[in-house]
Structures are given as structure tokens and as C-alpha cells.
């Protein structure tokens, strides 16, 4: 098993990526996630994100439902009617387990920091910008809460915080711990992750590591292992990518996300056509009748 090129402790090391202008990312690997939610807690505590309601969802151990204005890391708990590769699923996997296969998978979801970010394109105030480490950042002191980024995100990440919570009215999402990164620290979630299911580092290095991990898992019989990184769609790739053991839909990830700006051309052509028709039509109606 020496093939796994883990450099344990990289999440704890200091770095100079902001000063160097290096594109960085997250590689989140659910196969080593233990569902402890340390990332959720670390994110909330470091970024001082307010509570957004305490509810029992009935969705396994997931009670935060989805990413949103006040949930920037979200651990998904997927219960499946199938085994994952050659996994040993406890005492039930022998006799009864053969008829009643069971798989449990945890995935810590986060803002994808898209190559072509729908929220950034949509923002009319310039509150959302791309940083020198190629992450997508919302300036809270600029955002006026128009809500257009909310429908611009193909992953359903960013949301407007309801007025009753602290900082309410503005749009919020993962900051990639830009403040920590400026000081050479890793993002809070990666720092807190006990199994390095969340890996932080330079994008190129992480992509290579993810491919290696996929090859490693496939060699061990996890034939469905693959990287979720839609580089072949108009999103153009994501800077927080994931390892998957099944279809992306089952973890709530869109199968082929598109950045909404691809519709601009067709829609504006339609505007030009309609505008011309309205102007000419109205003038003709008044001239001829």
C-alpha cells in the first residue's frame, strides 16, 4: 500500500501561497472521512458564522441539510443499498449482509471555487472577486444583498442570510479562509480534519494526488472511484474537488454543471430581436393605421 503519496501533516504546515500567487485548492476524499464534523465546527468557530437553526432532518446523521449562508462546510451522510467495493461492512456483511448490502459514505462538501464562477459573474456590485490564490471571495462590506449570485451558482452553494441572523441580508459562502491564508495558515476545516480527508495545497499538486488516489483505489477493487471535477463543462473545473465512489447525483452534486453565463449570448440576441421588433412594429402601427 505504499502507493498512496500522502504527506501527512501538510495541512498543518505554513505556506506562502498568497504571496506567491499560487492557485490552491481542496481535495476532499470521502473514503477516509469519518463523519466527525470537525470541519463544520472549525469553520463555524473560526469564521464566527452564526447558527442557522437547529433541526432534526432524519437524513442519517446530517442535520445541517446543505451548504448555505451560514453553513460553509457541510458533511453529507449517504446511506446506500450497496457495498462500496470490497469493503467489510461489519457483522452483517457475511450472511444477512449479502442480501441486505449496506454502505455508508461521508463527504464534506464546500464551495467549489469554480474556474468560471457563476456567482462572481452575476454579482452587480463587484463584491465578489477572484483572489491571487484563484479562490472566489465575497466582500461583506460591499455586498448589498441583491440575491442574484444565489441563482447564479450551479452548485447551490451561496445564499442570502435571513435578516434575523447576525450579518443578515448579505450573501455568504466559504471564504477559503482567505484571512488565514494571507498569514500563511491553512483553512480552518483542513487544519481541523483528523484524517486528512480534506487536503489543502497547490492545485496542480492536489490534482495529481487525486489521480493517484483514484488509481490506488481502483487497484484495490473500488472500480467506481473517480474524481468529481467538471473540467469538460463550461464551469471549466473546480478548485475544491472531490473523490466519488458513485454517481455525483447521490451526493447532491450536479452531474454536468454549467456556468449560467453560457446563456447570455442567446438571451441578449433575443433581446435585440424583440427590441427591434417592438420599435419597428409600434412605429409601423402608428404610421399605417
Amino acid at each position: 500500500m505504499g502507493a498512496t503519496p500522502f504527506t501527512l501533516g501538510q495541512n498543518q504546515a505554513r505556506h506562502t501561497h498568497v504571496a506567491d500567487g499560487t492557485a490552491v485548492g481542496f481535495f476532499t476524499d470521502p473514503t477516509v472521512c469519518i463523519g466527525c464534523k470537525a470541519c463544520e465546527v472549525a469553520c463555524k468557530e473560526w469564521n464566527q458564522v452564526p447558527e442557522d437553526g437547529f433541526t432534526w432532518t432524519g437524513h442519517s446523521y446530517d442535520n445541517s441539510r446543505s451548504l448555505g449562508a451560514s453553513t460553509w462546510r457541510h458533511v453529507k451522510f449517504l446511506e446506500m443499498n450497496r457495498r462500496l467495493g470490497p469493503q467489510i461492512a461489519g457483522p452483517m456483511s457475511g450472511g444477512a449482509g449479502a442480501q441486505n448490502p449496506f454502505g455508508w459514505l461521508f463527504l464534506s462538501d464546500v464551495c467549489k471555487h469554480c474556474e468560471h464562477a457563476g456567482c462572481l459573474e452575476a454579482c452587480p456590485t463587484g463584491a465578489i472577486f477572484r483572489t491571487e490564490i484563484d479562490s472566489v471571495y465575497v466582500q461583506d462590506d460591499v455586498c448589498n444583498g441583491c440575491g442574484y449570485c444565489v441563482v447564479g451558482c450551479p452548485f447551490g452553494v451561496i445564499d442570502r442570510r435571513p435578516a434575523q441572523f447576525e450579518g443578515g441580508g448579505g450573501a455568504f459562502k466559504c471564504t477559503f479562509c482567505y484571512d488565514r491564508q494571507i498569514d500563511g495558515l491553512t483553512p480552518a476545516c483542513a487544519k481541523a480534519c483528523p484524517t486528512e480527508s480534506i487536503q489543502f495545497g497547490p492545485l496542480d499538486e492536489l490534482r495529481a494526488r487525486a489521480e493517484q488516489r483514484v488509481a490506488d483505489l481502483q487497484a484495490r477493487g473500488f472500480s467506481e472511484a473517480r474524481v468529481y471535477d467538471p473540467t469538460d463543462t463550461s464551469v471549466g473545473g473546480i478548485h475544491a474537488f472531490f473523490l466519488l465512489l458513485g454517481p455525483p447525483e447521490e451526493l447532491g452534486l450536479p452531474p454536468r454543471p454549467d456556468v449560467p453565463t453560457i446563456h447570455l449570448r442567446g438571451a441578449w440576441l433575443s433581446v435585440a430581436f424583440t427590441s427591434a421588433a417592438a420599435l419597428v412594429g409600434a412605429c409601423l402601427a402608428f404610421a399605417l393605421l
Binding site: G58, G156, R160, R256, L269, S270, A282, A285
Partner: protein, 336 residues
């Protein structure tokens, strides 16, 4: 953020409890779940996506936006009527009335938009930058341009008739009108149609699937509404009636296209539930009903039918977008 409501479960009778105990003793398990807990351990019937939760966020816009879509559309297209009237020698009172409708809409629209903002005091941040790739930014600037032109044109038009009334030369003001009214009309058509781009260029399946149709629909509804408002204000002109007929005809076509065109899960939100009902009702009001009322020469009723349908249709589209976003099946289907 409401939890899905579970259907009420009939209270177990004593016999049922006995049967459960017997079954558990005999087989070591209970075959029936009895209670369908949303996402209970190992869901037997897998939900679409991740526990059936939405993959994209629904719009957070409040009730003001539907009304703004109507007001902005009617105001923008009213200035087109003002331009057509000005160029074809309609009395100045017609031009002034059309510009008054435009200006009224130009005053109401920003108020509605500011009220919808999460942080209304920062409304001026809309004008920090201009981003042509953000329909929201283009729209904000278009509204500023339109409001300025329409209000100035109205002042000049009113001034021109005032000068004429007291026998002073009105020619310089008339010249200015021929600059301001075309500018108002040009920004007005964009104001009435960009809202289609605003909805079309999003991740909401029901909207983005119709990104080419929406500007046409919003534009034609705006034009029809502008004509209807002029008619309701007492102008009975053949050109207005012709515009009303054309708008109703196009609306009938669009309604038929939505009804018959796209099948399958991507169009579910446009046909089913409350949004489907709103879109059908508004489609009938702006389409066949107002067309037939015009043929029967019942102009005020046709105009009222169209204007009411125009308001309803905007809410229909917004609610359809919300329903479509909340349905992960639509997101998946739109990407296959």
C-alpha cells in the same frame, strides 16, 4: 427551510402491537417499516439526488420583484409608444401621457428593487461598477438611463405644451424631445426585455431552459401592457388596438409553445402545481381571452384582461423558477 411534512400515521391498535412483538420474536426483525421516516436508515426507495434535497438554491427575491417586472416592462414599452406617437404626429397630449406612464414606472421600479435588497441602504452599490456579463448590473444601469431620459422627456414635453399655450416659441423644446424620447424608447425596450436575460442566465432549470423565449415573452407582455394602460387611460386608437391584437396573438403562441412544446421533467415546474396554474391563467388572460375581447370590440375589458394577466405571468415565472430549483430531478434532467 421547512422540514418535509410527514403524513399522519394511524394510531396502532393493540393487535398491531402484539403482531409486531410476535414478528420481532420470531424473525428477529420487523419487515414493514410502518413509519416512512424521511431518510430513515437505508432508505428502501432511494430519493432523487441526496435525500431529495435541492441541488441549486431557489431565488430569494420577495414579492416586489414580480411587480417590478410588470412596472418596468410597461414603463419601458410606454416610451416606445411615446416615440411612435411623436414620429407619426400624434397630439402632444398622447406623447405626454405615454411619458407620464413611463416616468411613473421609472419612479416605482427603483423603490420596489431597493425594498427587495437584503441591505437596502446599499442600493447605490449597484452603480459602483458596470459588468456587461451580469444582467443585474446591465439592468441597474439601464434603469438609471431610462429613468433619466423618461423624466427629462416628460418635463420637456410638458414644457413644450406649456410654452405653446402661452404663445412662446416651442421649437427648441421640440428639438430636444426628438433626442430624449428616442433615448427613452431605446433604453425602455432594453428595460422591458433584459429581465428575460436576468432569469435566463441562471442555474434555475425552468428559467435557463427558456433563456431565448423569456426576453420575447417579457418584451411582448410589456408592449401589450403599455398599450393596455393607454387604452385604460382613455385613448381609443387603432394603432393601440393593433398592438394589443398582435401582443395577444404572440402570447397565445407562447402559451401553446409552453403547453405543447417541451415534455419531461425539465418543464415540470411550468405545468404543475401553483406556478403551472398561474402560468396557465395568465396565458389565457393575455392570450386568447384578450384577443377575443378585442375582436368583440370590448377594448377596456381586453386591456384589463391583458394587464392583469401580465402581472400574474411574472409571478408565475418566478414561482416556477422556485419550484424548479427545489426539485433535484429537474436539475439532473436539465443536465442530461
Amino acid at each position: 427551510m421547512s422540514l418535509s411534512v410527514q403524513p399522519a400515521i394511524p394510531r396502532a391498535r393493540e393487535a398491531r402491537l402484539d403482531a409486531l412483538r410476535e414478528e420481532a420474536k420470531r424473525t428477529g426483525t420487523v419487515a414493514e417499516r410502518g413509519i416512512a421516516i424521511d431518510g430513515a436508515p437505508t432508505p428502501r426507495e432511494p430519493a432523487v439526488g441526496y435525500y431529495g434535497l435541492p441541488m441549486v438554491k431557489p431565488p430569494v427575491w420577495t414579492w416586489q420583484i414580480g411587480l417590478y417586472f410588470f412596472a418596468g416592462g410597461a414603463a419601458g414599452m410606454s416610451s416606445v409608444l411615446a416615440l411612435a406617437g411623436l414620429l407619426t404626429g400624434q397630439p402632444i397630449s398622447f406623447v405626454t401621457t405615454a411619458l407620464t406612464v413611463s416616468t411613473a414606472g421609472a419612479i416605482v421600479s427603483p423603490m420596489l428593487l431597493i425594498a427587495d435588497l437584503g441591505r437596502p441602504r446599499r442600493f447605490l452599490h449597484m452603480l459602483r461598477v458596470f459588468k456587461w456579463r451580469s444582467p443585474m448590473s446591465v439592468g441597474a444601469w439601464t434603469l438609471v438611463a431610462f429613468s433619466t431620459c423618461a423624466a427629462l422627456a416628460l418635463i420637456v414635453a410638458a414644457g413644450a405644451s406649456g410654452l405653446g399655450a402661452i404663445g412662446l416659441p416651442e421649437r427648441p423644446l421640440h428639438m430636444a424631445l426628438f433626442v430624449l424620447v428616442p433615448a427613452a424608447a431605446l433604453s425602455g425596450v432594453v428595460l422591458a426585455t433584459y429581465t428575460g436575460v436576468l432569469l435566463g442566465a441562471t442555474a434555475i432549470p425552468a428559467w435557463s431552459a427558456h433563456h431565448r423565449l423569456l426576453p420575447v415573452h417579457f418584451g411582448i407582455v410589456g408592449l401589450g401592457s403599455a398599450a393596455a394602460i393607454m387604452e385604460l387611460l382613455g385613448y381609443r386608437l387603432a394603432p393601440l388596438n393593433a398592438i394589443g391584437l398582435a401582443a395577444a396573438a404572440v402570447e397565445t403562441g407562447i402559451g401553446a409553445f409552453i403547453e405543447l412544446g417541451r415534455k419531461g421533467p425539465t418543464a415540470r415546474a411550468l405545468r404543475e402545481g401553483r406556478p403551472g396554474l398561474l402560468l396557465r391563467v395568465s396565458g389565457v388572460l393575455t392570450g386568447p381571452l384578450s384577443f377575443l375581447l378585442r375582436l368583440a370590440a370590448l377594448i377596456p375589458f381586453a386591456a384589463a384582461s391583458f394587464a392583469i394577466g401580465a402581472v400574474i405571468s411574472r409571478y408565475g415565472w418566478i414561482w416556477a423558477g422556485r419550484a424548479s430549483a427545489l426539485d433535484p430531478g429537474e436539475t439532473i434532467a436539465s443536465q442530461r
